[in-house]
Symmetry: C2
Subunit: 338 residues, 2 copies
DNA sequence: TTGAAAGCGCTAACAG
DNA sequence: CTGTTAGCGCTTTCAA
């Protein structure tokens, strides 16, 4: 590896001068045109590449942003990762991405790791309900933004969707089509998106002067597996169920498989609406009415807030950011026959 | 930030002793039980977290692996990213992911950045045809593995799918159903996957004693847009076309949209087969016969090779790794009526 | 406009 | 078993 010292020697200047030229401070220090050119020429000729580790250690600026997601292969988080990395890169930061594999302990390790590497800011999509490690980040004055499964009780800066109103819209569409026995395939209990969506569903019932039966709440995660098993179980246990609400795209896929397994068809035998859509949704046998989160905006907003905090050094004034959800009516709701 | 020196002072030992205890070398140096306990206790009490930058600078081990992908929001690359990050984490490495946005210049910058941060190894899914920056990596003795769009002319370590044989199988299925006018919605020209798939298609024709018309080669990228436009154009220009081969999932979606736009139906009016599948493929109006790459294995293999090279210090014996592609017959091929 | 010297926080000889 | 002494490669006072 070729070092600054070697470049300096080769150009016949001191390391300080070489450093100033090569770190873009030439103008500020009013380095002579010739000296500057010489250093640059020599650096290029030698293929000099500054050691970012040494630079960061000395300057106290790592230029690294950390991103922790529960599953990078999930299109939802992948889209967030894309927004964050591109925004960060545009502002001269690199992004260290960690996949917590939906596991709180891995998430905690990842955050620690990121802090050890002197990340200047963190964006975390938390797995669940543990937040001490995140408080530790804040206490070390490292800017932190939480996305998606945020904790409302705490005072973190957060970006999440308007879960309740979307869930309400979806439910109202179902109720208006005559549905009353609506099963909810829930995601990870205790998480804010899950909780708020369920509240939205209940609100829809309430405002329609109906009462929703909590026995129709099934499932335990945002996964396809949970969706499949929960759908299968509830359709067997309560065959009078006329509609299903899936709280994620993978769950809706699981539900579709369950429906198929039972030899039923969508939407004649049972209606299905879901959170989140995906590119192929319009080409499904039965295109799903869905509430789709604006993932790009979630990621973009989180990145923008973090970057702004990094730039200004001030904690953001607005702490809780909500991104609207778009409900699209397709063909997966059938009218209930009397 | 609390440093090693402070911990050492607080525990009443020298920094070296503190370092040895806190970097897991206590046993090797046969540090006394009491000293060790004291250091650990103090470190924990003070909330000491070693500065990975300083550690890396000194020890010459950054513990960082770099991954560069053209688009992290593309499920294909997201899946690779997941395999790589989890495998790397299991072996004590962190992964810096960069999104090159399908742009060669960004890719080059990312690689440079990763090298500057002293990444110990790189996995790159190259955008296209530029490879000098990659040769620079090798010349600096940093292990490098290329995935997917590899360069065969060069001597890099590569992992990619068995494109040709899969393309051939897909084409033969079409030919056996009586198709002769088969249009190919190609991906990025000049890339290995694209080239080999086209070769496979031609081989199928050749072995069937037929000649494939190169005029039916359309499109210019692996994107939905290219798929849509190319499909639309060719169906208008050559209405006698009876089948389409899409070289990626997004392109197949584009093709489905084009078919819909023209008021045609799948597969009666036109057949469609595609590379890569996705979770919802079985629930499409017309489930697509597809050749699906084993993305997990691609990522897993790349990670394993890199990690092994890092472990042993030896360049891998086998340079070109090929992962089989699974062809699944569904319902998107109709027999051609005489 | 440039250089000398100090040191970021840690690890690794070397010495006891 | 433990401490002392040098740096890793860079930036940044301070001084000229």
């Amino acid at each position: 590896m070729i070092t600054l010292k070697e470049v300096a020697e080769s150009a016949g200047v001191s390391v300080s001068t070489a450093s100033r030229v090569l770190s873009g401070q030439a103008a500020a220090y009013r380095i002579g045109k010739v000296t500057q050119a010489a250093v640059e020429q020599r650096a290029k000729a030698l293929g000099f590449q500054a050691n970012a580790l040494a630079r960061s250690l000395r300057s106290k600026r790592s230029g690294i942003l950390g991103l922790v997601v529960p599953d990078i292969s999930n299109p939802f988080f992948a889209a967030i990762a894309r927004q964050v990395t591109t925004a960060a890169n545009q502002h001269g930061y690199s992004v260290l991405i960690a996949d917590s594999c939906e596991t709180s302990t891995i998430e905690q390790d990842s955050v620690k790791q990121l802090m050890a590497r002197q990340a200047e800011g963190l964006i975390v999509c938390p797995v669940g309900n543990v937040s001490e490690h995140l408080r530790a980040v804040e206490s070390k004055k490292v800017p932190l933004v939480l996305v998606d499964r945020v904790f409302m009780a705490e005072s973190f800066t957060t970006v999440t969707s308007e879960h309740a109103s979307a869930a309400k819209q979806l439910t109202i569409a179902l109720i208006e089509a005559g549905h009353r026995k609506i099963a909810v395939l829930q995601g990870l209990p205790g998480t804010l998106p899950n909780t708020e969506r369920i509240e939205g569903i209940q609100a829809a019932f309430c405002e329609s002067g109906l009462r929703w039966n909590p026995q129709l709440l099934v499932g335990d995660n945002f996964t396809e597996k949970s969706g499949f098993e929960a759908a299968l179980a509830i359709m067997k246990a309560k065959p009078t169920t006329t509609a299903l609400i899936a709280l994620s795209a993978p769950q809706s896929l699981g539900a579709m498989k369950a429906i198929q397994r039972l030899g039923l068809s969508l939407p004649q035998d049972i209606s299905l609406v879901a959170f989140d859509d995906h590119p192929f949704i319009d080409h499904l046998v039965c295109p799903l009415t869905s509430a789709s989160q604006d993932v790009e905006r979630l990621g973009e907003t989180a990145a923008a807030i973090l970057l702004e905090q990094l730039r200004s050094g001030k904690r953001p004034a607005k702490r809780e950011h909500r991104i609207p959800i778009q409900v699209t009516h397709r063909k997966s709701i059938a009218r209930v026959k009397k």
